[in-house]
């Protein structure tokens, strides 16, 4: 008996997508092409229903102000409420955690030399709830427990792609050493190219984003060596969120000598408000 990672999901987590869903705007011409790109994914998630989702995201000055800035924070609580980001909390279900698996992962990953911050009380913002909405629609309850894993990508220096990729490998080892049969998915969220500040706001780099997707699939080890400055220059100051995708990618079986994952779905769309939206589903072989 052991838990295993069955698949990884990658998606942007633009707040305006959450607002479009919550305000019933999904059929509007502006939003329709975006939500169409997730139709396959919603059915796939129903068919491949995981027991737990390990969800890598970043907080946007909601749970963490400048009082404390943890680089890697794992949510070990029994539940996490949607945060009030200034417009009232999103009308979405409370996120139910998996404290046993989360505590196990924290223990294992810290012993594996990654100094995680353990969080037992935390609200979760659009970074976590928008991916759930995109993949699950608008259910009464989320389909399974979720372990929130918050990465600091707001204050520089943020963790390097290389370190994120290695962390993903440590998370895989941790999950596989949990003595209960659980199907676990790992999601990496944020990006793609966008810049929300200064005279360069509105930057989008379609070519770079698609090269990132290609390389994340075929050569994640190479992508993990790309320095921050390339993300900033080419994909905008907030494009740096993409390092979080490398955590999910590092947890896949091929990084540990297994076969290459199966690409189940790939989608790219510009724009969602200020941002390029990218989405991938990679499955491990069973």
């Amino acid at each position: 008996m052991a838990a295993k990672i069955t698949a990884s999901v990658y998606t942007s987590h633009v707040p305006a997508i959450g607002a479009a869903l919550d305000l019933g705007k999904t059929a509007e011409p502006y939003w329709q092409p975006l939500f169409k790109g997730y139709e396959y994914s919603k059915q796939w998630l129903k068919d491949e229903k995981p027991d737990v989702i390990f969800l890598v995201y970043n907080d946007h000055a909601s749970a963490f102000s400048l009082e404390m800035i943890p680089t890697f924070a794992i949510g070990c609580a029994a539940e996490f409420k949607p945060a009030d980001e200034g417009w009232g909390p999103r009308p979405v279900p409370t996120v139910i955690g998996h404290p046993e698996l989360a505590a196990h992962i924290a223990h294992s990953v810290i012993q594996d030399d990654f100094d995680l911050t353990i969080v037992n009380k935390m609200d979760v913002d659009h970074g976590l709830t928008v991916p759930l909405s995109l993949m699950c629609g608008q259910p009464e309850a989320w389909p399974c427990p979720v372990i929130p894993f918050a990465v600091n990508v707001v204050q520089y220096p943020v963790p390097s792609g290389r370190r994120c990729f290695m962390l993903g490998q440590a998370i895989r080892r941790a999950i596989e050493s949990f003595d209960t049969d659980l199907k676990v998915q790992i999601w990496g969220t944020g990006g793609m190219s966008h810049q929300l500040q200064g005279q360069r706001a509105g930057l989008i780099n379609r070519e770079w984003d698609n090269a990132f997707l290609d390389r994340l699939i075929a050569d994640p080890e190479g992508q993990a060596q790309v320095p921050h400055i390339d993300y900033v220059r080419e994909a905008g100051s907030e494009g740096i969120e993409l390092v979080m995708w490398l955590i999910a990618r590092g947890a896949m079986a091929d990084i540990n000598g297994g076969p290459k994952p199966i690409v189940k779905h790939r989608f790219y769309h510009v724009p969602a408000s200020n941002t390029a939206v990218g989405h991938l589903i990679l499955e491990n072989h069973t």
Binding site: Q197, R200, I204, V232, N274
Partner: protein, 133 residues
């Protein structure tokens, strides 16, 4: 030895690093306080009075009062924190983004619909005038 900050030659961009964060601590914490409805009400009733409760620099206060987000960022503000001022004003994120670029919101929205701002000519300071460093 000086810290490595290779991002300082990216045009129209201020990276919120530990140095900016230290400069902007109270400005950003003031923004954070606007997450609470009672604080939003007090701020809106008398902005200057509310700002004077915070140990912010006069430059930071002026940046907030004039809603000049570029000025706020130069003084240590971070966009995710500053966005809470916009939320208090009932403005969209796209409005705030446009306000930093010198474009109207309509022009900015049209640029995004057309695929966004191109990276060509926007990678290095002075690149447009051929002074690439």
């Amino acid at each position: 030895m000086a810290l490595n900050k290779p991002y300082q030659d990216v045009p129209g961009t201020t990276i919120f690093d530990a140095e900016q964060s230290r400069k902007g601590y109270w400005l950003n914490q003031f923004c954070m306080s606007l997450m609470k409805p009672e604080n939003r009400t007090r701020f809106k009733a008398n902005e200057r009075l509310y700002l004077d409760e915070w140990p912010m620099s006069e430059e930071q206060k002026q940046g907030v009062l004039t809603r000049d987000l570029n000025r706020c960022i130069a003084a240590g503000g971070n966009i995710y924190f500053l966005a809470k001022i916009g939320a208090t004003d009932g403005k969209s994120f796209q409005y705030m983004a446009a306000s930093m670029t010198g474009m109207t919101q309509e022009e900015y929205a049209a640029m995004m619909l057309a695929g966004g701002r191109s990276v060509e000519g926007n990678r290095f300071m002075g690149e447009k005038s051929g002074e690439k460093k």
